[in-house]
């Protein structure tokens, strides 16, 4: 069964901390994405990557950075966590075969206190 694995289901961090959210996919997908999901705002794209060492900003990149050193791994970094970054974070991947849709991880619920 194909999988996107996010390292933590729940995370509590303090304001100002540097936070790393890890995502690994085992499907050899070219494309990987980070979204955050908030009530009433839906899924919003933070960053995405089409290839190793390649990244592009999504709709809300401020306060975040990403790293893709290997094809299977895409990390989201909160440089200095703030309370408004409390959210559900979802990683997804897909191949260039659009008909397959996105495969999402189970999500990381991050709380910044």
């Amino acid at each position: 069964d194909v999988k996107v694995t996010q390292s933590s289901r729940y995370l509590v961090k303090r304001t100002g901390e540097k936070v790393f959210l890890e995502c690994v996919q085992d499907m050899d997908h070219e494309n990987m994405f980070w979204y955050r999901q908030d009530p009433g705002l839906g899924l919003r794209l933070i960053y995405f990557s089409y290839d190793v060492k390649m990244k592009e900003k999504g709709d809300i990149p401020e306060g975040y950075s990403v790293s893709r050193e290997k094809k299977e791994r895409f990390s989201l970094i909160l440089e200095s966590a703030s309370t408004n970054q409390t959210s559900m974070y979802l990683c997804a991947s897909n191949s260039d075969r659009e008909i397959d849709g996105y495969t999402f991880g189970s999500g990381t619920r991050l709380t910044v206190v």
Binding site: G42, L90, S106
Partner: protein, 112 residues
């Protein structure tokens, strides 16, 4: 700008009836639309993709339509069951590559 809207935040129907969810898009017609199911606290799960040149697509009890005149997709679940209760999201492609944007979702509740 390209937008996608799901007008109904919530829909409650009786078990056995057909649930119909609506997705509207603005601007030019996307090459395709996708539908996902999301359960509470979980990531969305891909259900179906329909291309703009396909009027209708079916998968078991699911049926999706694509009307480029109305700029709308309808998602139907026939013979609905309580297990179908979830939030359903539609998504459209951006103008470039594999990036898509999601609607805000419709929370479907099927009562026994």
């Amino acid at each position: 700008s390209q937008k996608i809207e799901q007008n109904s935040e919530a829909l409650n129907i009786q078990e056995g009836k057909t649930a119909t969810l609506t997705c509207n898009y603005t601007n030019y017609s996307p090459a395709y639309l996708q539908w996902y199911r999301q359960d509470p606290g979980r990531g969305p799960v891909f259900l179906l993709l329909i291309r703009e040149n396909e009027k209708e697509k079916r998968k078991e009890r699911l049926k999706v339509t694509f009307d480029t005149t109305l700029k709308q997709s309808l998602f139907h679940i026939t013979a609905s069951q309580p297990a179908d209760s979830a939030t359903y999201l539609c998504a459209r492609r951006y103008s470039s590559a594999s990036k898509i944007i999601f609607g805000s979702g419709t929370r479907l509740s099927i009562r026994p």
